[in-house]
Amino acid sequence: MSVVDVSDMRDRLLARAKREGLATVGYAVFDSPVGPLWAATGPKGVAGIHFGRGPSEWELRRLVRLYGPGIVPDPKPNAALFRELDQYFSGRRRAFDVPFDLRGITPFQERVLRTTSRIAYGELMTYAAVARRAGNGRASRATGAAVGSNPIPIVVPCHRVVASDGTLGGYGGGLDVKRYLLAIERAQVPPGGWPKRGA
C-alpha cells in the first residue's frame, strides 16, 4: 500500500469534474530539449507556458484570476500544443497553429505581445521596433518589461526580440535557451540569409 498509483482514478475523477464544469484548464509538463516546460491549456487555447516543472507565482495567480480554481493536472488539452512543440524543436514547424489566450495582462502588454506574435520564424525585431509597432515608440523600456512578462513563450516568440545594439537582451528561460531557439530557426534559413543585425 506504500506505492499508490492513482492515475486511473484521477482520470475518472477529472472526466467527471470536466463534465460538471468544475475543471476547465489542464496542465502538464513537456520534456523539451531546453528542459521541462510546464504548460496549461484552457477553453480559449494555450493559457500559459513556463520554463520548469511548475508555474511561477505570477502565472498561477493570473490563471486563477482568469479561470478560477478549476486548474488540474491533465495532459489531454495540451496534446495539440505538445505535438506542435515537438515539431518546432525538431525543425519541422515554423509557426504554431494552436490558439492562445493572452488575457490577464495589461492592454499595453497585450499589444506588445500581439506584435511579438507576428514576428516571423527566424527573424529578429528590436525592443524599439516592437515598441513602435505596438503604438508607443518611446516606451522601449516598458516594452522590454512587457516582452519579459510573456506568459506564453515559444508560441508567442519573444525570443525573436533583441536589443538595438545587436545583443540578445534578456530571456525568461535564460539566454542559453534564447540562443538555442534562435539557432533552431537560423538553421531553417538558407545560408547567409539569416539577419544578424538587430533590426
Binding site: M1, V4, V6, M9, R10, R12, L13, R16, A17, E20, L22, A23, Y27, E57, L60, R61, L63, V64, P69, G70, I71, V72, P73
Partner: protein, 163 residues
C-alpha cells in the same frame, strides 16, 4: 528572501484543484482504502471526496485543507456505510484468508470493517495512521474526549473480534 518566500508558498493553502489533488490524493486514497477495505469502494470514496471538495471550494479555513479533506472522506464513508451495510461476513472472508498462526492482516481488516462507520474512522485515523486525538477530533468534528471514547470502544471491539 527567496527561501522565505518559497517556504511560505509551500505552506500556503491550495489555490487550484490541481494543487489540492497533487498534495493529498495519495493519502486520501490510502485512507479510503483503510476505511472501506476494498479497492473499488476506496476509488469511489476518493472520487466522491474530491468532487465534493471541488464543489464546496474554497476550503473553509486557511491551512486546514487536509483536515477538511479527511472530514469529507469520513462523512462520505459513513453515508456510504449507512446506505450499504456490511456486504461480506467475517466467516466468508476468513475462508479466503491464508492459513497462518496468530492474527493475520486480513483478520484485522475484517475486524475494522465490522466497526460502525464513526468508530471505524476514529480507529483507522488513530490506531492505523497514528494521528493524535486532536486531529481525529478535527476530522470527525467532535471533541477530543469523544474521539478518545470512539477509539477506545473501537479498540475493544477489534480486540474481541481477533481474539
Amino acid at each position: 528572501m527567496d527561501a522565505v518566500r518559497s517556504s511560505a508558498v509551500r505552506e500556503a493553502a491550495a489555490r487550484t484543484f490541481g494543487e489540492l489533488l497533487e498534495r493529498h490524493e495519495r493519502e486520501i486514497f490510502a485512507y479510503a482504502l483503510r476505511l472501506t477495505g476494498a479497492r473499488a469502494d476506496a476509488e469511489d470514496l476518493y472520487q466522491e471526496t474530491f468532487l465534493a471538495a471541488f464543489r464546496a471550494w474554497p476550503p473553509p479555513r486557511r491551512d486546514h485543507e487536509r483536515a477538511w479533506l479527511y472530514r469529507i472522506a469520513t462523512n462520505k464513508a459513513i453515508d456510504a456505510a449507512r446506505r450499504r451495510p456490511a456486504l461480506v461476513s467475517v466467516e466468508d472472508l476468513s475462508l479466503a484468508a491464508p492459513e497462518r498462526d496468530g492474527v493475520t492482516v486480513l483478520d484485522l481488516a475484517n475486524a475494522i470493517r465490522l466497526l460502525p462507520a464513526g468508530q471505524r474512522a476514529a480507529f483507522v485515523l488513530h490506531a492505523v495512521e497514528g494521528r493524535p486525538y486532536r486531529e481525529v477530533a478535527a476530522v470527525l468534528d467532535c471533541t477530543e474526549e469523544a474521539a478518545r471514547t470512539r477509539v477506545s470502544d473501537a479498540t475493544k471491539k477489534v480486540r474481541r473480534q481477533i481474539e
